[in-house]
């Protein structure tokens, strides 16, 4: 009897330990990954000497539209920062910014990775490798290639 118990005690205790300790943690469907590009506008201010400081710039935008949709993302606002949703069904998005005196273009390409989080949370999209395509602005810099809610700007536009 003792031999029988010793043979199975280790196995039963191990299974119990795994059942008790192996419960999966409750799924939290919150992610820092986003599908929007944060664009900040800046200008160089010369203070009289040879050095220049960079300050936030404010643009008056009549409207913002994008290729592939009739949606108007923004209308008649004064902004120093924009949030542009990307087209997740494509690897490229092109935006037209209607300013009072001109129409400017911003085009971006990116890689969209998909992940099945869980049965409760469903799908998550991770957008990375953001690159600048065509633009009519003087100077555009990609500062963060991953679209994430924890960063200030992915793109900085200088006029």
């Amino acid at each position: 009897m003792g031999q029988f118990l010793s043979k199975y005690t280790l196995g039963i205790s191990a299974m119990l330990a795994l059942i008790i300790g192996g419960c999966a943690p409750e799924e939290v469907c919150i992610t820092d990954n986003t599908t929007v590009i944060q664009v900040g506008f800046f200008k160089e201010v010369f203070s009289g000497t040879d050095s220049a400081e960079v300050e936030e710039d404010t643009l008056i935008i009549n409207s913002i539209t994008a290729l592939g949709t009739d949606s108007v993302f923004l209308s008649a606002q004064e902004v120093s920062q924009l949030t542009l949703p990307i087209n997740t069904g494509s690897d490229q998005s092109t935006y037209n910014l209607e300013l009072p005196s001109s129409t400017e273009t911003l085009q971006f390409s990116y890689q969209v990775f998909s992940r099945f989080v869980s049965e409760d949370c469903g799908l998550e999209l991770i957008v990375d490798s953001l690159k600048l395509g065509q633009t009519s602005f003087d100077s555009v810099v990609i500062t963060q290639t991953l679209l994430n809610s924890n960063i200030d700007n992915n793109v900085e536009v200088y006029r």
Partner: protein, 244 residues
Amino acid sequence: MWRYIVSGFLLFSTLSTTAQVQPEVDTTGVRPAKPPREKKQAKEFIPTGVMIGVDIFNIGRSIWEDELTQQEFQLDIDSRHYHVTLGYGTAETQRQSDISSYSNDGSYWRVNIETNFLYSTERKSNLFVGLGYGRSKFDDLLVSETEDAFGTTLITSRNSGATARWFELSTGTKIHIWKQFYMGYTIRYKFLKKVNFDQLIPNDIPGFGENREDDKDQFGFNYYLYWRIPFGKPKPTKPTVIDP
């Protein structure tokens, strides 16, 4: 790297077989010399048998969990102190949410080197700790609908021939039950995972478990039924001496 260690171990154990030297009959009363230390150490690595096992824990999971179908077989080559175990398995996963479905299908293998702490028992029961390496190859597919400012998009994303590798620490038992039949469990801690994929981040890795971003390591549990095939003839039992 583990393939070379295992190959070297098997090669060494094969080459280290030596013929038995009959001790001389001593008529002078002087105690015969002890066998050389090298021969005693060589016996440690000579395989004494092989155990063929099937994992019934994952077969049970496949029955009570709709999402998973998995089976694993194991080959255990044992010597006195050390075992080399080779495992091979297949796994298929189906996961569904309201608007997304994910499927994964692949195979895996692992090799472990284990130290047996119960080597002195005649019945060849095991209590072991081990270090191992595993590899997996699989295909997976994600189909989902998303809605954004550009409308409703059907996303179809797949990996074909994605691979993964990991290392593992293991511990467990293999207990003799009856004749050549054994049962035992193995608990594994899997770490240092590396996954190669295309644009779909895999949710499951066959042989490893879930590919979670917030929990890169995984625990695993197997419960095996084994049949042992010993090498060579069993040792003769001592005759019973009956007092006249």
